[in-house]
Symmetry: C2
Subunit: 354 residues, 2 copies
């Protein structure tokens, strides 16, 4: 039986990417050596890293625009403190749209004054704040473009002259976007980019040297950028597999083409959530994420019945996060539309049975 | 043609470990899902992480002795600053045995006073300092047990009541050792433990809470330990493959049995270096590393001839680090003795030809 993997992350990657990655662990491109036993200073691996960085800039339309792509470790969680360590001299603004923004705020407070410009905490983060004023004295404004847990997503970006810093961990490469509106954005790989274990940071080179404090080498964007992501041994497998996945994204027509497919998937699922008398969506309609759909049974007593239908159908990873409960269907780039169709069938079967 | 991989790191791992890791990237244990597409909060991955931590403590004989094993990201380079961030309140001592110690010292200086207790810089780090006094007012004493670049290795540890902190990146799990002499030791995986992308830290729980400064969550040993290495998404592939490799180490009879094999390999190679009229070792004999043998041609004009012999024989990764030049043969746990025999044959063939 085939499984339909809706896991929120680490999450589904294209079958061919996983297959190629596995083959490279056995032997890299006929070299008689495994990907994981060669030096990161070898020509073979330097080419992989270079291609990964080039692909990241090309996919986001930022080639030749003064940006640098670097691959680090530590996930978005390390970026919560690195952004502040590198950029927060006096005061920074944060838009709080849930757990991840909240964690970013907590870490930033160790480095300077943090202003919560707006928050949707009053309604358990089920919406994206829209009416707020961005003061002009901020070192940067930080936002989380997509909230994996609550299933909300910024549809437009704040208009501001303040440098914009974004955590794009769960929606990078998922939709057409003017990435040049950002001065820095980062993403843990394990949703739309690759396997867990590496983090992509794309930073405008003009952001280097913004603070007076001393920055430890491993936490300095400038150090990593100056060494082309090779200041120390990079996470070889995660970078290689991310590179394969970015090649796949390009082969699919790039971000814009995938964005259209993602919209079709999410429209299909949200359509059913709204139509089906047994379910209700969690996030405000206008702020619904194309990546993570959060929804609940109106009658929790049907939980066992729905879970059983889903299990029989081969659906995996649909359980909602404990902060929201219910269900969460993560529909990243690699999720085929037939997975969503199977889920919709399950929802309709439940309605028919009850 | 088979290759003999002497790479200094990332480096050779057992064939069966690489094969099993590749299979898991295709499908994990009949789950119909790839290792890299399952949630790190799934039972399957929690079991993997738990087993990895247990194996690390069991192999080092530290089970039930008040230590915690945690798997992090960022390599030894991140540990250079994390050790100081977490432990350096006033003053720390460092033994400087080369590049890696030097980098550790540089990062630690951002957090407090750093005393270089001893250094072998005067002779390009070709020996391990032995006569020095450890003052009694240090927060900790830091050393690098094996120097990958210069090919030196501590054969005995300093006797001191000062908490001992060690970078064991290149000789962890390679020899019988009283690991309880350390209060904290760490190792980037990519030599004797697994693929690049994770770092093992084993820390005495009594070391938590030693400094008054605020520590960002991702840099706090206590935070990671309290969350059993799952504070954030761990590097799934690197932890899994390290777990497989630690299982392999156990199946080989553990660290002591591998230590004996490693001694046989290094004795064979150093014997030839000393016997062969064309070569000379770099490191002082009594401080020679069992992991990384550094040696040079007495007559550099024979370089092309020797390189050609090695290439024909299928030897890979033998080039010395630029700080030393010449050759470096890394003989980690997974390197079979026949690789060393092939190298010795090459050295003898050169001698015969010239």
């Amino acid at each position: 039986m085939r499984l339909y993997n809706f896991s929120a992350g680490p999450s589904i990657l294209p079958k061919e990417v996983m297959h190629q990655a596995a083959e490279a662990v056995k032997e890299l491109d006929g070299s008689k050596l495994s990907l994981i036993e060669i030096s990161h200073r070898s020509k073979a691996f330097i080419n992989i890293m270079d291609e990964a960085c080039e692909l990241a800039l090309r996919l986001t339309g930022l080639e030749g625009k003064g940006y640098k792509a670097i691959f680090l470790q530590g996930g978005a969680s390390l970026q919560f403190l690195m952004t502040a360590y590198n950029l927060l001299e006096k005061k920074a603004g944060y838009l709080n749209t849930g757990t991840w923004s909240d964690k970013a705020i907590k870490e930033a407070k160790l480095f300077g004054e943090v202003i919560e410009i707006a928050s949707s905490k009053d309604q358990n983060y089920n919406y994206i704040p829209k009416d707020y004023t961005i003061s002009s004295d901020l070192d940067y404004l930080h936002l989380t473009t997509n909230n994996t847990i609550f299933g909300t997503q910024f549809k437009t970006l704040p208009e501001t002259d303040t440098p914009l810093v974004a955590d794009m961990s769960s929606d990078i490469f998922s939709r057409a976007f003017d990435y040049s509106k950002f001065d820095l954005f980062y993403a843990g790989a394990q949703k739309n980019m690759g396997p867990a274990g590496t983090t992509l940071v794309i930073i405008k080179e003009s952001l280097f040297g913004r603070v007076t404090r001393s920055i430890p080498s491993m936490l300095s964007y400038e150090v990593h950028a100056s060494k082309d992501s090779m200041f120390n041994t990079p996470p070889v497998f995660a970078v290689y597999t991310s590179m394969l996945n970015m090649r796949w994204i390009e082969s699919q027509g790039g971000i814009a083409a995938l964005g259209e497919k993602n919209a079709v998937k999410s429209t299909l699922l949200y359509g059913e959530i709204d139509r089906n008398s047994l379910f209700e969506g969690f996030a405000n309609k206008e702020d619904r994420s194309d990546m993570n759909a959060t929804f609940n049974l109106k009658n929790p007593e049907l939980t066992d019945a729905f879970d059983s239908i889903c299990q029989t159908a081969g659906i995996s990873g649909l359980k909602g996060h404990r902060s929201v409960g219910g269900y969460r269907a993560s529909m990243y780039n690699a999720l085929p539309i037939d997975s969503v169709e199977v889920l919709v069938d399950c929802m309709q079967l439940l309605e028919k049975n009850h």
